[in-house]
Amino acid sequence: MGQLVQIRDMSFAREQRILFDNLNLDIAQGKITAILGPSGIGKTTLLKLIGGQLTPSSGDILFSGESVCRAKRAQLYQMRRKMGLLFQSGALFPELTVFENVAFPLREHTQLTEPVLQTLVRMKLESVGLRGAEQLMATELSGGMGRRVALARATALDPELMMYDEPFAGQDPISMGVLLKLIRDLNQSLGLTSIVVSHDVTEVLEIADYVYVLADKTIIAQGTADGIKSNQDPRLVQFINGLPNGPVPFHYPASDFLKDLAAQ
């Protein structure tokens, strides 16, 4: 099976802070690939780079063999029709109902008649268990429901690649279980390729076919979920077991606090 996304020698810096340094990463077609790493490491930025919303300072990102970085505006928008991104915030349109939110990409890109469009939207809502909520306003939804509606909207155009940005953040155990099942089921039933970016290690390792762990501007480990669990790299052991002390610093870089206090 081929690679849907290929990242080649990619570097990216934001306001003089280097987030990625010569990163190489492949996303296999039809699989769920997880990208794990501590907060602030640039996981969301990586999704925006794949979606062409940001441009790397060097290197290249290929989607279906085509360069996302060098694509012209119209070409990039064509590529994005084959991508879906579930934002951490959901990013629903607050002035629209649940139904209209999911119908939005269909109304923009297709000429479907109203009955066909309604059936399609209801099918998408049914797949996330929210067909009964179609007349609610987006502002009336709980965080978990909002994310499921956003998922229905992101899959409305049947994308080839589905990207999930921290899908489990702030979810109660039931919502988390539902989302896990949804990601797995959608990947299988729609034949998608999925990228799940998260720091919820246990949940992600349950569904991922392949895992990359990012830290220190690059990949520190990769492999299957079992391979990652048994990896003895101290940085990985600290991250997976949630240990406060270890090679990955808890503190943002700063001068010595005791010295600073003494100087005052």
């Binding site: 919303q53 928008y77 934002f87 939005f104």
Partner: protein, 257 residues
């Protein structure tokens, strides 16, 4: 000294960069194929920007017209020239006050609303999500608002002038007792379609272009925080108002200088 030169250089580069970004935004927004979906969006924005601005424009126009009528009458009556009140009111409104005051009110009412709306859409990732759904926000969000603003404001300016002239006549004719026939016929004789009405229309179109451009740019590139949006909204009202006043001077020189 070196630091000051460096700061001036940095600001100049930033200014030119911002101008370039704003220009690109405008070009991307304007060059789109109009279709019925786009026209529907423009119609919706004409309602938001134009129709909802009507109350403030009409009320302000009425009061400004009445004040103009009263002040004009007090001055003209001492020369026995109160019959010229209609001319004075109509010319000052059609040439200057109509386009300029409407533009200032439009910047405050519609410009600030545009900046806040677009800024909030950006801050809540709605624009980002649109981009990822392969919907170009320049064409879906910016272009309809731009055209709606440019279409609405000249109409608002015209309505402002109409109700203000009526306000002037209310004070001059109904209250101070100037002869109604004289008031209207002198006005009719001295107002020129090209020199006064058309030039006023050009002015308000140019002002609308600037206000909407400034408002949309400030909203689209606002910092995604509450302080950032508040700062962008203030910047829209201040910058657009000052640009309107400066442009008015330049246009007046070109038209009547």
């Amino acid at each position: 000294m070196i630091n000051q030169i460096q700061r001036i250089g940095e600001r100049s580069i930033n200014f030119v960069t911002r101008l370039g970004v704003a220009g690109l935004m405008l070009v991307n927004a304007l060059f789109s194929q109009p279709n019925w979906k786009f026209l529907r969006l423009v119609g919706l924005q004409v309602y938001n920007l134009g129709v909802l601005s009507l109350p403030i424009i009409l009320v302000a126009g009425l009061f400004i017209g009445m004040v103009l009528g009263l002040q004009g009458y007090n001055v003209l009556v001492s020369y026995g020239a109160e019959q010229s009140l209609g001319t004075m009111v109509a010319l000052s409104l059609l040439r200057e006050l109509g386009p300029v005051v409407t533009a200032l009110l439009f910047a405050g009412r519609a410009g600030s609303a545009l900046t806040a709306e677009v800024g909030l859409m950006k801050a809540t990732e709605q624009i980002s999500s649109m981009e990822m759904m392969a919907v170009d926000p320049f064409k879906r969000i910016i272009a309809p608002r731009f055209w709606a603003g440019v279409l609405s404001m000249p109409v608002l300016a015209f309505m402002f002038s109409m109700i203000a002239i009526w306000g002037g006549s209310f004070v001059g004719v109904d209250w101070k007792g100037i002869d109604s026939g004289g008031f209207w016929s002198v006005m009719q004789a001295s107002v020129d379609i090209h020199q006064d009405i058309f030039y006023g229309f050009i002015k308000s179109t140019v002002f609308a272009f600037v206000i909407v451009w400034v408002a949309l740019y400030n909203g689209y590139y606002a910092k995604p925080s509450s302080a950032g949006i508040s700062e962008a909204t203030t910047r829209t009202v201040v910058n657009a108002s000052l640009m309107v006043l400066a442009l008015d001077f330049i246009l007046t020189i070109l038209m009547y200088g």
